[in-house]
Amino acid sequence: MKRKLNYVNYLVLLVASAFFIFPIIAAAEFSLRANGATTHNFSNFQWAIQQDGFKTNLGVSFRLAILTAVAVLVLMVPTIVYLHLGGARWKRLIEFICLVPLVVPVISFALGVATAFPVFLQSTVYELSFLYVIISMPYTYRALDVGLSSIPLLTLVEASRASGASMRQTLLFVIVPTIRSAVNGAIFLAVALSLGEFTLAVILHWDTFPTWIANISQGHILAAIALSVLSLVGAWLVVLVFAILPKSFRTNKTQEAAA
C-alpha cells in the first residue's frame, strides 16, 4: 500500500515538474536559436542587450523588485507573527484580506489606484511596488504562515523577551533566522512577481522591464524570449543572494569563534 502511494507521489511530482520545466527549457532553447534555427548562440541576447532602454528598464524593475520584497517583509512578517502569538481572532479576517487580490481583476484594481491613490505616489514609478505587495499577498502570506506554524514560536518569543530583547530584536535575531527558508520563499515570490508583472504597469502607463520586452518583441520575437529568460535568471539570482548572504555571515562568525 505504502509503496503504491510512493509511486503515485513520484508520478505526480514528475508530471508537475515536467509541466513547469518544459516551457522554461523550451524558452531557453528558443532564445539561443540563430540563423533560422540552424545554430545556437547568444546572438539574440547580444542584440537585446544593445537595444535602447535595456539598462534603464531593467534597473527600474530590479529596484521595484527589491522595494517590493523589503515592503513585503516589513509588512507581512510582524503581522503574521502577531496573528500566531495571540491575534488569532483576526486570523480569518487577515487571511481573507490576503486572498482578495486573487479575485479582484487587475483592471479594476488599477482603476481604483488611479482614482484613489495619493497624487505624490502616483507621480512615481515606485507606486507599482505598493501594488505588487498587495498582489503578492496571497502567496507571501501562505509562505510565511506555513513557516511560522512549523516552529515553537511562542516559546522562542518568550525566551527572547525574558532575556531582555525588544520585539524588534526578537523579530530580527530570533524569528526571521529561524524561518529563513519561508522568508526566502516570500522574497522569491515578491521578486518574481515584480520582475514579471505586465498588466498593471501598462494600464498605469509605466515603463518597466516587462513592458519594454513587449515593445521589443514586436520587432524581434527571439530577443524578447531571450530577455524573459534573462529576467527569470535574474529573479533566481536575487533570491540566491538573499539566501546565501546571511549564511556566509554565519560561517564567518563560527570560523572566527573556532579560531
Partner: protein, 355 residues
C-alpha cells in the same frame, strides 16, 4: 562567581482570571535575597501563572510585584531583568550554544569579547565548557536545559525563574540536574522561584516549598515542616502519602483512633467534642504487630511492595475492609507475610482531623 544582584521579591495580593476561571486568588509570597522557593501543586493550580506574572509574560492581573522595594507591575517583561528557564526546550535553533548564552548580553549591547567571555564562564559553570560551538539540536535534552540555565544566568538576573525545567527529562538526568541547579543556585546566590508538580523535586531543592491548590497558596514553609507539620488537611493530603483513619474527638485537644487517645494538632484544637472524622496519619507513623486476637485495630496483610530500603505494606482492616498503608524498613517487613493478621499501632504525636 556570586552575583552582585541579591534582591528580595514580594508578591502581594495577586489575582488573575482567565475568562471565568480564577487562576490565582489573593496570592502573597515573599522571597528573601538568595532564597530558593519552590511552588508545588497539581497542574492548573496557578503555580505557573504566579511565575509568569513575576516574569511579566502574563499581564492583566491585580496586585503588586515588589522587587527591592519597587513595584514593577507596569514594567514590560524585557525590562525586568529576569532569567527564565522553560519546560519546553527553548534554545534559539539558529544560534550556537555560546551565542544562545550570550543572547541576553547581545540585546543589551554588550560588546562581543565581553559577551563571549561571560558566556564561556557560564558554560563552564553548567559543565558544558567545550560545547560552545554546537547547535541546540546537537545536544541532549539535559544539555539543552543546562544551556538554557546558563542563558538565564548570563544577564545576572534579579530573579531566576524556573518553570518546570526538568519535566521533559528522563528520571536519571532529572535527579542529576536537580542537584546541579541547587549547587549553582547556591553558588551564584540568585533569588529563585522554582515551579514544579513533583514533590520530591520541590522537597529536595527548595529552601521553602509553597503548596498551591486551586489558585491559593495553602502553605509556604521549609520542606520538613510542610511534610511533618502541614498547615491544613489539603496540604497534608497532597504532600506525601496519607492514611485516613476513623476518629472521634473526645476533648478540646484530643481525639480517639482505634481506642487510643492522640493529641489533636494545635491549629484544630477547640473542635466540638463528639465530632467524628478522619485522622490523617502518614504510613511511617504506623507500625504492625503480629497478633491472634480481634479488635478495632486488627487487619490482614494484603500486599507488600519492596521499595529498596523501605517496604510498603497494604493492610485491609477487618472491621470495615478499608485499606491502610504502612511503611517500614525492609528488614522488619519480612515477618508480615500476605494473609497474616496484624494489629496496627500509631506513633503520631499529634494529628490533623479531616471532618
Amino acid at each position: 562567581m556570586t552575583t552582585e544582584n541579591r534582591v528580595s521579591v514580594q508578591l502581594k495580593g495577586l489575582r488573575k482570571v482567565y475568562g471565568d476561571a480564577v487562576a490565582l486568588e489573593n496570592f502573597n509570597l515573599e522571597l528573601a535575597p538568595g532564597e530558593l522557593v519552590a511552588l508545588l501543586g497539581p497542574s492548573g493550580c496557578g503555580k505557573t501563572t504566579a511565575l509568569r506574572i513575576l516574569a511579566g509574560l502574563d499581564t492583566d492581573h491585580q496586585g503588586q510585584i515588589i522587587i527591592n522595594g519597587k513595584d514593577i507591575a507596569g514594567v514590560p517583561a524585557n525590562k525586568r531583568n529576569m532569567g527564565m528557564v522553560f519546560q519546553a526546550y527553548s534554545l534559539f535553533p539558529t544560534m550556537t550554544v555560546i551565542e544562545n548564552v550570550g543572547y541576553g548580553l547581545r540585546v543589551r549591547k554588550v560588546d562581543r569579547e565581553k559577551r563571549r567571555a561571560r558566556a564561556q564562564e557560564l558554560l563552564e559553570l553548567v559543565g558544558l565548557g567545550s560545547m560552545g560551538n554546537r547547535l541546540a539540536h546537537q545536544l541532549s535534552g539535559g544539555q539543552q536545559q543546562r544551556v538554557a540555565l546558563a542563558r538565564a544566568l548570563a544577564i545576572q538576573p534579579n530573579v531566576l525563574l524556573l518553570d518546570e525545567p526538568l519535566s521533559a527529562l528522563d528520571a536519571q538526568v532529572r535527579t542529576q540536574l536537580r542537584d546541579e541547579i541547587k549547587r549553582i543556585q547556591v553558588e551564584v546566590g540568585t533569588t529563585t522561584l522554582f515551579v514544579t508538580h513533583d514533590q520530591e523535586e520541590a522537597m529536595a531543592i527548595a529552601d521553602r516549598v509553597g503548596v498551591m491548590r486551586h489558585g491559593v497558596l495553602e502553605q509556604c514553609a521549609p520542606p520538613q515542616e510542610v511534610y511533618l507539620n502541614p498547615s491544613n488537611v489539603k496540604v497534608a493530603k497532597f504532600v506525601g502519602a496519607m492514611n485516613l483513619l476513623p476518629a472521634e474527638i473526645v476533648s478540646a485537644t484530643e481525639l480517639k483512633v482505634f481506642g487510643h487517645t492522640i493529641a489533636l494538632r494545635a491549629s484544630e484544637a477547640g473542635a466540638p467534642t463528639g465530632k467524628t472524622g478522619m485522622a490523617l496519619i502518614r504510613p511511617e507513623q504506623l507500625s504492625l504487630k503480629l497478633t491472634e486476637g480481634r479488635g478495632p485495630a486488627t487487619a490482614t496483610v494484603a500486599t507488600r511492595t519492596f521499595l529498596g530500603p523501605l517496604t510498603r505494606i497494604a493492610v485491609r482492616m477487618i472491621a470495615d475492609n478499608s485499606v491502610l498503608y504502612v511503611s517500614m524498613p525492609s528488614s522488619q517487613a519480612l515477618q508480615f507475610v500476605e494473609g497474616s493478621t496484624v494489629e496496627i499501632e500509631i506513633h503520631a504525636k499529634s494529628v490533623l482531623l479531616d471532618a
